[in-house]
């Protein structure tokens, strides 16, 4: 097939690395409402917590009021391993906010369950190393206002 795969590094991408942020990120703040606060409280405590069904063990993110598989209301936040693989990514180059540097958004598939995924950022990685299936692990970074965010980095 002629041409370059779209996922190949483009001119602007060559040599890009995505370090751990050294200043607090100032994106939007989460609402931390009913059903979502546990996730953010977990991050504060340095733990990635998602919602698991006590009846059948199925994980759901984002969680609803009942288990998405068996319908049970016996749901509770529980820690996950924080390990997963890179499902998809996009390198954001447009400075949507003033002074914003390129960063790598990631859709991470957690090891606990095939369809357990969350949007996050990938750090401590070079653009050349990005590939589907890359093993990753959670790492917590500071956001504005004392928020802590679960990001991911290549598994060490």
């Amino acid at each position: 097939m002629a041409g370059n795969a779209v996922t190949e590094s483009e001119r602007e991408l060559h040599g890009l690395r995505f370090p751990m942020p050294t200043e607090p990120l100032r994106f939007f703040q989460p609402e931390r409402g009913i059903g979502t606060a546990a996730f953010w409280d977990g991050a504060q405590a340095g733990e990635l917590r998602l919602v698991r069904c006590g009846a059948c063990g199925y994980w759901t993110h984002p969680a609803g009021p009942r288990c998405a598989r068996c319908g049970s209301a016996d749901l509770a936040p529980a820690p996950v391993s924080g390990r997963g693989t890179l499902f998809a990514w996009t390198v954001s180059l447009q400075a949507f906010l003033p002074g914003l540097q390129p960063y790598c958004l990631a859709l991470v598939q957690l090891d606990e369950q095939e369809d357990l995924r969350l949007t996050s950022q990938l750090v401590e990685v070079a653009v050349e190393d990005l590939r589907a299936g890359l093993p990753v692990e959670v790492v917590f970074v500071d956001g504005a206002g004392g928020l802590r965010l679960p990001f991911f980095r290549p598994l060490r």
Partner: protein, 395 residues
């Protein structure tokens, strides 16, 4: 000839306001211009309009210039006397206002429904206002995206495009054909915003917005309003132009309607819209003469080709490769007015407007040659999807 359900309805009139960048006019002003154009085109007067349907309707919180005026504002500004009205942001994509109008006509709630979609995103997002943080606290689905920096649709669809490309080997040259085709057609559309030729080299050297989507993979914010008159088929003999039959609509929602919780890039909302469209018609994709497929981002057009069954999963890239299949003189002329990528982001209904002109044989220099009796429209992307099959003459 009277059909049941949506086949009770025809698109009897089409209209459009001025379209451009930063027209500096209000959404209501543009809407009334488009509405009067459509009503006149239908051979009717405003006094004969007894219904209104719009997307997304009044009170819809979104980025500036996205929503347009609500149904009640238009009713008041035009002093219409309507028996039914609806403005709604949930449903089969932007097409829901047309679907709602068809259902109102079929149910006997109205006989001639004014349908419109208006955007003033070009004027109202000057100076980056679109990205302005008016409420820095986000809840709902966005709570799982925006705090992480996934703040724009280009991020959400960049992720979809990345997954699709890694699974199926889509190349930038293939993806770029969507943009190049749109620009070629826009050159034949006097109302298109970007009409100067675009080469593959231009495309490949354009700056990246969020990989793998570059500047030319993103549609162009515009000001403009598109309007239609949907009437009962029984009244259509009075129409000024060929009434266009609504053969089928694709309105299903069977997967997870999410920007990031999808199992496969080929199984987002549009896939199920496409499936339900074909479940509701005796026509097949072989009957389709032209396609107007949503191109808010070029990857969405790729995915619509598969959602509607024109290509199997993962095969749209090869289908697009030389651009010939989707050219005006090809087997499946695509986005013949230039799409949102070049003609301007009229948010879905601009594509319906073009489908109507093509079916009526009124598309001027860009009229597809040969048979133009069946058109398919796909609207939306990510968690949003709707499809519509329109025919000239009774099917």
């Amino acid at each position: 000839m009277t059909g049941r359900g949506v086949r009770s309805a025809v698109i009897r009139g089409v209209g459009q306001s001025a379209v451009g960048r930063r027209l500096g006019r209000s959404g209501l002003d543009l809407t009334v211009e488009a509405a009067l154009d459509a009503i006149d085109d239908a051979g009717l007067t405003p006094a004969q309009i007894d219904g209104i349907a719009t997307y997304p309707g009044g009170g819809f919180a979104a980025q500036p210039g996205f929503a347009g005026p609500g149904a009640v504002e238009v009713q008041d500004a035009m002093r219409l006397r309507v028996d039914w009205y609806s403005g709604s942001g949930e449903g089969p994509g932007q097409l829901q206002c047309l679907v709602n109008a068809c259902l109102a006509v079929a149910a006997g709630l109205a006989g001639n429904v004014l349908v419109y979609r208006t955007v003033t995103e070009a004027t109202e997002q000057v100076g980056g206002r679109g990205a302005a943080v008016t409420n820095p606290v986000v809840g709902g689905p966005l709570e799982w995206l925006m705090p992480f920096g996934s703040i724009s649709a280009v991020h959400w669809l960049g992720m979809v495009a990345n997954r699709y490309a890694t699974q199926y080997g889509l190349t930038r040259e293939q993806l770029g054909q969507v943009a190049l085709n749109a620009r070629r057609n826009a050159g034949l559309n006097p109302k298109a915003i970007y009409r100067e030729p675009l080469t593959l080299e231009d495309y490949l050297s354009a700056r990246m917005i969020s990989t793998p989507l570059c500047l030319f993979d993103c549609d162009v914010p515009a000001d403009g309003s598109t309007a239609f008159v949907v009437s009962h088929v029984a009244a259509a003999p009075d129409a000024r132009h060929t009434p266009l039959h609504v053969n089928a609509v694709g309105t299903a929602l069977r997967g997870r309607p999410s920007w990031d919780q999808w199992d496969a890039p080929t199984r987002t909302a549009m896939h199920y819209a496409g499936v339900s469209l074909w479940e509701r018609t005796e026509l097949t994709k072989a009957d389709v003469d032209l396609a107007q497929l949503y191109d808010g981002f070029s990857i969405l057009t790729v995915l619509w080709l598969e959602a509607l069954g024109f290509c199997a999963d993962g095969e749209a890239g090869a289908f697009l490769a030389d651009g010939k299949q989707i050219a005006l003189d090809g087997p499946l002329p695509l986005n013949t007015a230039g799409g949102q990528l070049s003609a301007g982001r009229l948010h879905g209904l601009g594509l319906v407007h073009e489908a109507c002109l093509q079916l009526r044989g009124q598309a001027g220099q860009r009229q597809v040659p040969g048979r133009h009796e069946v058109a398919v429209v796909g609207n939306g992307g990510g968690p949003i999807g709707g499809a519509m099959l329109l025919t000239a003459g009774v099917r």
